[in-house]
């Protein structure tokens, strides 16, 4: 059996009037990348901040490298690196000074210069933090976690707000951590990110685990269909009903916010023909059609009945 870095059983954390985390359990194998996936408000940040000792839990058990954060937080802190979702830092220190300051907190830190290079801030090392862009600040936060040289990196939405290029760079950095034997525990609401990066993941919603497994397993288990996606041509309730009555697909989903309609099918040519017929019968333009393999996004949609960004 694999060695575990984190083991959580029945974790509960309540705030006034809200069950932010309501009994979740999971195990993180040492040296793996574990993803926690869910929409905003699902309880991801609360979970990560309880694991690193910022909150006291209301129930359940936590073991981080064999320690309970409520008993041995000082020991845990020396062994982990943490990137909070929106960390606040001394605004007038430079990138280099900030990384140096953090490195002095840890017994065996990484080389600050190397950390700055890895997160791509070498050209900004003498810039004061208040002058950094949101994305740069985010990368610095990841760097501050990395400089700990800890055995586990807790990264709370590490790539939120980054442009696609910066996001990909950061993925490489995270993969690099894994190659060096570091366990990574990250949260994200990007399905693609979870799919590409994580060895294991759990999808949570409203404080509860919906499903756990590897990305491949989850997709295989929950979305064997192909997705045909198109722009909502302005369906009325009546035409919506008509579309569903035609039985042109296994399932029909509506992504309200994105104004997309998704048809899940096992028979792409059949569904496609029916769809185009439907369009000409009702004088509706079926535009912007995408045919793709089902993704984690679809798993989420299927399990919760709504899109992750809604």
């Amino acid at each position: 059996m694999d060695e575990l870095s984190i083991e959580v059983t029945g974790l509960k954390k309540y705030f006034v009037g809200a069950k932010a985390v309501d009994g979740i359990s999971f195990k993180v194998k040492s040296g793996s990348i574990y993803g926690m996936l869910g929409p905003n408000g699902a309880g991801k940040t609360t979970t990560i901040e309880t694991l690193v000792g910022l909150y006291r839990r209301d129930g359940g058990r936590i073991s981080v490298l064999g320690y309970d954060p409520e008993d041995d937080l000082d020991k845990i802190k020396k062994l982990i690196g943490v990137q909070l979702q929106s960390p606040s830092l001394f605004p007038r220190l430079t990138v280099k000074e900030m990384v140096n300051l953090f490195s002095s907190f840890y017994p065996q830190p990484m080389d600050p210069v190397e950390v700055i290079n890895q997160v791509g801030l070498d050209s900004k090392e003498n810039t004061q933090i208040r002058f950094l862009s949101g994305g740069q600040r985010h990368r610095l936060a990841v760097g501050l976690a990395m400089v700990s040289n800890g055995k586990i990196m807790f990264l709370d939405e590490p790539t939120t707000g980054l442009d696609p290029k910066a996001r990909r760079q950061l993925w490489d950095v995270i993969k690099g951590l894994k190659n060096n034997g570091v366990t990574v525990f990250l949260t994200t609401h990007y399905m693609e990110e979870a799919e590409k990066l994580c060895d294991d993941l759990m999808i949570i919603d409203l404080g509860k685990v919906i499903v756990q497994g590897s990305p491949r397993e989850l997709i295989k288990e929950f979305s064997q269909e192909t997705a045909i996606e198109f722009s909502d041509p302005g369906l009325t309730d009546l035409s919506r009903k008509a579309l569903e009555d035609r039985q042109l697909a296994a399932r029909v989903s509506y992504e309200v916010k994105e104004k997309r309609i998704i048809l899940y099918t096992h028979n792409v040519p059949f569904t496609m023909k029916k769809l185009l017929d439907f369009g000409s019968d009702h004088k509706l333009a079926i535009d912007d059609i995408v045919v793709r393999r089902a993704s984690l996004e679809d798993v989420f949609l299927k399990l919760t009945g709504r899109g992750i960004r809604e």
């Binding site: 943490v82 606040s88 001394f90 220190l93 300051l101 807790f154």
Partner: protein, 362 residues
Amino acid sequence: MRIFINVFLANLKELIRDKTALFWFLAFPIFFVFLFGIVFSGSSELVFNLGIIIEEPSEMTDKIVEAMRAIDSFKVSVARGEGSEEMKALQKGERHIVIKIPAIDYQKMASGQGVEILVYYDASKQQTSQVLMSVVEKMFGEAEHNITGIPEIFKIKQEAIQADKLTDFDYILPGILAMALMQLGLFGSLQFLSLREQKIVRSLGVTPLARSTLLISEITLRLLMALVQTFLIITIARIVFGVTIISNIFVVFAVVIIGSLTFISLGYMLISFVKSNEAGQGIIQIVQFPMMFLSGIFFPPDFMPSYIQAIVRAIPLTYLGDALRQVMIGVYSGRSMLTNIIVLSGWLIVTLIITIKFWRWD
């Protein structure tokens, strides 16, 4: 220790790079020293109205009067015999103190019994009267020392008593410093409040850095700032306005550190009860503004009604102002240095206990 130094340096850099904050930190005391220095420069020396009642004039009493008159800041009027007109003047508030010198019995004096000199003072003007008393006591103390029948006993006038050249500005300078230290201590706590409000304290909470280290480095920085301000204020007062500081600068620094700690602690206590920076500003203003006027750092609170005087005697700024006046210009108010230090320490301990009880890290 290495971590402490690093966090201290981080705080220091934050301060130095915040140009607005740095400007006010340096400009504020300079501004006040110049403002008061100019307002009180020139002729407006403190004048003490002194009445002397001489029961039986003699060569000796003439010398006493001469000695008193030689002090610039004394306005001396003399009455002979019963001197009831001087006593009336005292009651009307026209005299700060009245000294009554009885007929001198040289035989008694020769046998070492000394002369009993009565000093009447206006209780409602306690503070100024006290200043005056200390001067007079010192004069007669010196006199007694020499009282062996030699006519020259009252050459006291050549002694360098600070009251000789005490100007209003001298009196106010320690007040400016006390005010600066109070404001630094109280408003300085907002720095931590903003670290708290901006969640920097929380963000650092996921690292092995002990939060107490963060706080101690803040306090250390605040003390350093207090010493820099003290040095600035004293240096400008000395170079531009010619004020002489009677004590060793390190004695002044020691008082400054005790006073600063008291107000830093008071500041931290106040921010324990609020969440936002705005609320922090408010609660500190509510405390510091009345304190500034009631402490007698700028003018003696003699004329205030007695129930206000009770407040005056309760607030720490009164004692810091008094302590600084003693060590800087040698004006004694009747309170001993020990009292000042005890009261300031008492405030420090009490506010510290309340702070620890109500303290919030985030």
